[in-house]
Symmetry: C2
Subunit: 153 residues, 2 copies
Amino acid sequence: MLSMKAKYGLRAMLFLARAYGQGPTLISELAEKEAIPKKFLELILLELRNKGYLHSKKGKGGGYYMGRPPHSISFGEIIRILDGPLAPIPCVSLTAYRRCPDCPDEKTCGIRVVMKEVRDATAKILDGTTLADVLVRSDHLLSSTQEALTYHI
Amino acid sequence: MLSMKAKYGLRAMLFLARAYGQGPTLISELAEKEAIPKKFLELILLELRNKGYLHSKKGKGGGYYMGRPPHSISFGEIIRILDGPLAPIPCVSLTAYRRCPDCPDEKTCGIRVVMKEVRDATAKILDGTTLADVLVRSDHLLSSTQEALTYHI
DNA sequence: CAATAGTCTATTAAAAGAATAGGTAAAGTA
DNA sequence: TACTTTACCTATTCTTTTAATAGACTATTG
């Protein structure tokens, strides 16, 4: 399950991706427009900043802005930072492998095999989808619902 | 993330699937052989029983046994019972849909589109994998590692 | 009726998730 | 330089979920 933290983080990143190249955005503006508790958002942005995904500027005219272009940042990267590994169990995680303490034999564990498939499918989607992709897609969704609307008027 | 509860539940179901047609298994035996806290296991088995996946018998010679053949029970069903919906966010769940309280427009939400893909991929795997499938697969894994061993001796 | 084995409800302990509080530091601006 | 703005950082709190335990109750079998 995606946590609120990751959901807020994705929303914030999409917002900042949309503002890419247009200077910094205030935390308070982001919090208000995206309906995210401001203090909570601060922590999230800070974490993303410390990993290099965002840059920030203090004082008047300050705020947050993308540290890298939106087409170079995937959903998978953001979720891993905010929620940890994508894998449903640690013994199939590539980025954070950990053995199951009570597993008698990892090689023949049936649960593991299935969960590895789930992990791989999830990672393929999330690592293959960038912020830029999602902006394009939601713009398409918007214009197609508007077209449908216009057509009916 | 798969909870301990679901992991224990899957392990127990696989164990009982292996014993399919061979009469009931004691909770205490299952708990010991699979290294699951007995009292916790009781609750898990009870839940699966109440949904019809297991049957039980009290008194001497009693225990738990499959309520349906192993090829007719998927990982997805078991996990949904023990951990709830597979979807990473409730607004993309087919079995337990719930609107996001703060979402301005579900139709154009970019996060939702991506999470729907994740849900669908996950559900396809978990609903398409039965207990019987997994038993066969882990037997194959076992015999192939044994062959490799024999070959090297 | 006594031993066996599952059933059920309640409780607790620990961890994670979500949010809040309040002070600190840097960057501009008067 | 003083003031305002805005991000930075640490700690704390509140709530929910997860994991596990306790103990009494009920059905079955010999």
